[in-house]
Amino acid sequence: MDVLYFAWVRERIGIPKEKVTTEAATVAELVAELKAREDRYEAAFSDLSALRVAVDQELTDFDAPLAGAREVAFFPPMTGG
């Protein structure tokens, strides 16, 4: 699965994109796996209320299932317009 990071999430983790092989059933489980890896993930995911997530390019929430998902993206609240 492709995992993408944008804005300060990208900066904290240090890469815009990576391939992740996971058995995580939900976004929250994927986050827990990533946080366990390294401090930079722990730092990026320390406050989930400051983050938003999209699964296959659709905004969703951290309870969303990952079954069949090809792309998960994490980013701060959007500031378009």
Binding site: Q57, L59, A73, F75, M78, T79, G80, G81
Partner: protein, 150 residues
């Protein structure tokens, strides 16, 4: 309906003229244009990051919802990304309708959704340093009026 996500500047005058011209069945045209505002101490640069795979789809979904909720003859959304200076135009929306109420409401709806639901992030560089622009609570609140109509 036209949605354009682009790095290049757009010509507000030409876009507005082309959008409004010769609409014999549409009495009301509304445009909104967002301009990079200078900040205290001076804005050296604004960098707009976006999520290439998702942005176009997200804007199309927002524009489609507007056309379902209001009687619109046409919708235009242009949103830039990349590096911009103070005074440059970031984005515009335009709506055409028979009556002004629909054109105004749809344009405000588009803006409220673009602000908080389109995958763009702004980073400002000023004399004081560089930082990501935080989302404003009032932008999130502005969405409520469309889900909980008074």
């Amino acid at each position: 309906m036209r949605i354009s996500v682009q790095e290049a500047p757009f010509d507000l005058g030409k876009e507005t003229q082309a959008f409004a011209e010769g609409r014999k069945d549409m009495g009301a045209i509304v445009t909104f244009t967002g301009v990079v505002r200078d900040v205290e101490g001076g804005l050296a640069q604004m960098e707009i990051e976006h999520y290439p795979g998702m942005t176009q789809k997200a804007l199309e979904a927002i524009a489609s919802e507007a056309t379902e909720r209001w009687s619109l003859g046409d919708v235009l959304v242009i949103h830039r990304y990349g590096r911009l200076q103070a005074g440059e135009m970031i984005m515009m929306v335009a709506t055409a309708s028979r009556h002004r109420k629909d054109a105004f409401e749809a344009a405000e709806f588009l803006m409220d959704y673009l602000k908080s639901r389109a995958p763009f992030w702004k980073k400002e560089t000023t004399g004081a340093g560089t930082g990501w622009v935080a989302a404003r609570d009032e932008d999130e609140d502005a969405l409520d009026r469309w889900t909980n109509p008074a």
